[in-house]
Each structure stands twice: as C-alpha cells, then as structure tokens.
Symmetry: C2
Subunit: 339 residues, 2 copies
Amino acid sequence: MARTLDEIAREAGVSRSTVSRVVNNHPSVSPETRARVEAAIERTGYRPHGIARSLATRRTHILAMIVPEAVTKLFTDPYFPLMLRGATEACNRAGYQLLLSLFTASMDSGILRDRVLRSGYLEGVIAANASLSDELVPSLVEERIPFLTIGRHPDDRVNYVDVDNIGGARMAVEHLIRLGHTRIATITGPQDMTPAQDRFEGYRETMEMHRLPVSEGWIAEGDFTEAGGRAAMTRLLSERPTAVFAASDSMAIGAIRAAWAAGLDVPEDVAVVGFDDIPSALTVEPELTTVRQPIERLGHLAVEMLIQRFEQDGEQPTSIQRVVLPTELIVRKSCGSAR
Amino acid sequence: MARTLDEIAREAGVSRSTVSRVVNNHPSVSPETRARVEAAIERTGYRPHGIARSLATRRTHILAMIVPEAVTKLFTDPYFPLMLRGATEACNRAGYQLLLSLFTASMDSGILRDRVLRSGYLEGVIAANASLSDELVPSLVEERIPFLTIGRHPDDRVNYVDVDNIGGARMAVEHLIRLGHTRIATITGPQDMTPAQDRFEGYRETMEMHRLPVSEGWIAEGDFTEAGGRAAMTRLLSERPTAVFAASDSMAIGAIRAAWAAGLDVPEDVAVVGFDDIPSALTVEPELTTVRQPIERLGHLAVEMLIQRFEQDGEQPTSIQRVVLPTELIVRKSCGSAR
DNA sequence: TTGTACGCGTTATCAT
DNA sequence: ATGATAACGCGTACAA
C-alpha cells in the first residue's frame, strides 16, 4: 500500500513533484499525466500526510478553543455546548479542526504555554470568556498567536466578539419598569467577567435613567449557576423586591426555585427575567422571560473572524476587529402582565 | 529570536544533535555543555517545533472526540460537557490534546474520512455514543485508527467503555416495584442507540422477572430530550401508569412537566425515576430519583484506555478491551414512599 | 508541462 | 560525550 508521494510517483512513472501537483490541483499538469497519477492514487488508496504537509506549508488548519479555569466549572451550562456547536460548524465549513482545551486541576498556565500555545500546532486561538484576572489573554498576547476572545476584553490589543450585554440588560429592566415595577433587584454574575459587569451596568444605568433607587440590598452576586442564583435570591428576598433581573437563565431558574421555596409565586409575587435564552428557559415553570443572545452564532463568528485573519492574502496591517451582536427581549410568562 | 535547533547550536557552540539531546533530556550530555545549551535556550526563548518533531517521531499526542450526527442534536444535554470535561482532564494529565469533531450540516462522512481520520494528525479517536446505523465505526475500523467507543457497540472488533445500563435500569424498576407499583411504564431513548436499548432491556427483564405485565401502551420512545420526554409522557398518561422509568434525566424532567400539565402530582399520582443524575436532577421539583452514571469518569477512562494502547512499549497482540462502570440508584423525592 | 534540488525542524543512527 | 548525516513526507523555486 503506497503511502508517500515517491511511491505514487514510481507507480505512475512520473516525478514526485508531478504527483504533488496533481494532489494539490495545480493547473499545469497535462490531462493524460493527471489521469495516470489519479489512477495510481486511487489504486493505492494514497492520502497525503498532513504533518509533512504542515511542515512544508507552515499551515495546520487547527484552531484551539481555550476555556479558562473559572469557566470550566460552568461548562455544563448549555451556553458552552451551544457555543461549541457554532464554532465546530464554522470549522467544518472552512476545513479547519478545533482543539478543545479546558483548564482543569492538572493544567496550569505554564503547561498551557509550553504544551499548547507553543506547540506549533495552532494557527489561532479562541479564548472563551476569559475573566480579567486570567493569565490567558496576556499569555496569548505575548506568544503572538492570532487570537480572539468571546466576550469583551478591556485590553486594547484584543479582538473579540461579544453580544450587546448592556443593551440586553436595559431591555430587560425597562420591560420590568414598563410593567409597573419599581423595586427591582438584580442577581449579577461574577464581577471579574465582563458580561457580568456589562449586564449589571445595563441594570444600573436603566434604574438611574428612570430615577429609581437602587439599594445595596437589591444587588446580589451569583456565579452564573442555578445554585448560585438560588442562594442570591434567598438573600434578596428579605428586601422584598417585586422583580428581579438575573444575569443568566440558570440563575433566573434558581431564583424562581428560591421564590417558590419561600412560598412566593412567580410572577404574581415577584417577577423574574433572565439572560441567555437557553433551552430550559422554555421548560421551566413559569416559562422564562429572558434576553436572547445568539450563542451559536457567537461561536461561529469567532471562528470565521479568526480564520479570516490568516486566510486573507493581503498583508494588511491587522487592525483591531470587534463585533457586537444584538440581543433580543423574549417575553414569556415569568414577569406576568402590568401591575 | 532563535527558533530552530541550528540557531541554538550556533549560539551555544555545539552541534544540533547536542541541543536536541538537551531538549529531550537525553542522559549522555556533559553537565557543562548542558548548562551552556540551556542558557542559550533560555536566552533565546526557543521552543521545539511540534510539527517537525511529529514528522520525525511519528507522534502527535492528539486525540479526537468525534460526536456523530444523531448525537450532535443532544449536545446541550449536560452529559456531553461532563464527559468532555473528564476526557480533557485525562488529556491534560497525560500530555495529550483533544480535537473535538461534531457532525454538523456541513460535514459528511466522506469529509470526515479525508479531512479528519486520514489527516495523519490523530493518534486515536473516541467515538461518542455512535448509533448502530452510523457509518463512523465502520470507517474507523477500515482506517485502522486506534479507537474506542463510549457506549457499547455490537461489532466484535470494537473496544469500548460503558456503564451498566441494564443493571441501572433494573435497580430503578425494582425500586418502583418495591414501593408497590405494578403499572410501570417506560420512556425509552432512540432504539438505535445501545444505551437506550440496554436501559429498555433492563426494564423489560425486571418486569418479566417480577411477572408484571408490560402492555404496548406503556412503552413510549423519546429522543433523550426534555421535549421528547414530555411528549412521550403525554402519550403514556392515557394508560394511567402509576410510575414511569425514563431512560434519561432530561426525559424524566419532561415527564414531570407533562404530568404536572395534566393536573397530576409527582410523586403522589405518578412516580418518576430518571437516568444519568445530571445537575438539574437536584433542582427539579420534586428532586429526581435517578440512576447515577459516572459521566466524567467515562470520558476520563476512555482517554486513558486509548492512550494506554499506544503508550505501552510491548507489542502485545492488542486484545479487545472493554470496561463497564457500575451505576448507582440515587433515591430522592420523585418516587415518594411506599404505597 | 515536467523534473531537479533544496528546505521545513526534528529525531535517530552511526562514527568518533 | 559529541558531531555528521540520513531520514520523516511534502511543497516549490528554478531550470529544462
């Protein structure tokens, strides 16, 4: 079974270069030779060796999705599978492969650099929701690997794709205000993550714009998980808010459970609005009013933008690329109707 | 910035071979030369080029997790993130990388073969829950790539890791019987997937063993999703079962919602038991009695077993390796107490 | 259009 | 202990 260009060349009675040209669809090969070579390839079941090819072309068509430690814990939230599905779909379309690198106990940032970033295998990296304290982004900058974060990052040199978190939060809170609520609390995400910051900022500025007071007791930090949302809501309840904006659907669902456990009805006693529109927003009782973000498109777009960087022939001065996708308010039942 | 062995060699005034030895911790290098070379490496920030190394050693330390089309749809079920987390953890420990390949619309099995399996990049492949009709397993066999499936596969030549689905289902059904139920229905998974087959088999044989009738109307096929479970339960309710064994937690949760929507109380009117023990089994109301399977360990073990195959020095005749992990009944509230 | 020759960055064998 | 030198399999100027 022939496994190298040389063997095919011998088979077909041509030189290795010619076989290479045939394999790479180079135009200047006579139809007859091409046919003869293709026959030999067919006959022997030859496939080019990717590694050797990569060594010669300096291309691997491999991207990495790196999930920082703080986020690995949240990995069961449907957000990540959805985002990954979008990313792999884009990779499949473009002929790339996606390496998945989760930070786990046995992985520190030194290992990451040596084993992953400097391996020579990666053409680009997507950093999923890196928190500000994370060393990942500085590492990427230093290694000079083309990369992109999902979720805004404050560093000037960082390209990212994000969704309009502030605008989304604003829509959510304005919806609550429109329904007649004034005692509106919020469950935030960890404040070292920019989406959490931005959703809180949207809440804060909307309350302010409507001259509504925001007491300290109306702000509870969660961790984006259902359990965290439940705990946060429990703390919030002593302040008797009539509505709560949770910075993620998982936390919103936790909040509903906490309200329920406290003998309160949703939306009758307290209205709840979430953020994400994950599948279970539709199956929770009551169905969750939420801010939809295009999660799959986020992953898809991240890959596309990254690829575009090294796919483009021109050597343009790589300018900063940032894209912010719109969010959308999905009204269901967890906020009831006007009071 | 020195980037090749040759440059380091020049820096340190030695030959390329010596530098290579230092990099690879080969013993026969004098302490002085080693120090000099290491200094040069440190100074220049040199890192070996993985691709070139792979070409020479014929090793890439890259594994792929391939998720077949039928399963890509279920990808938001917490099962997959958990399994992936286990797999990546094992990879991190062993110094391997994990390529994630989801079948999506833009990917057919021809592309998979040419672009993924035959790329030369993969040392091994894990096939996640391939259904019987899937072409993936035959392709893997034919390509002679070391692989392993997660979930039993009937082909003799296939190695796999699995959990004791039959035993788990048996425990679930026996629990219901012990509580006094006799009208026990089941919501199955798609019957072209072996875990779904086995869980159904566990149900069937346990009913039979206890000489309990199984009417046609007590069997409803779902698709492992919550929506599917809800639909299946709705069909089941006309037969008035007093208990239902669902082949996944997601479907069990759907079943609870359907019961609730029909005005039935769980567990008062109908008991529900699930399978998986995903995080939301704890947060659903009532808390779900379920069969726990060690999902992360499944992913972890799959990687370990695969690596072991090519890591072992000895050229043993690679015997068939199959591991089945135990399952465990977790009693919570969705089945109530004895009737 | 086709072939020759060199380079991609390592590892590994064999002298010394 | 160290250094030439030959693979590893392919791409690609350059020459013919």
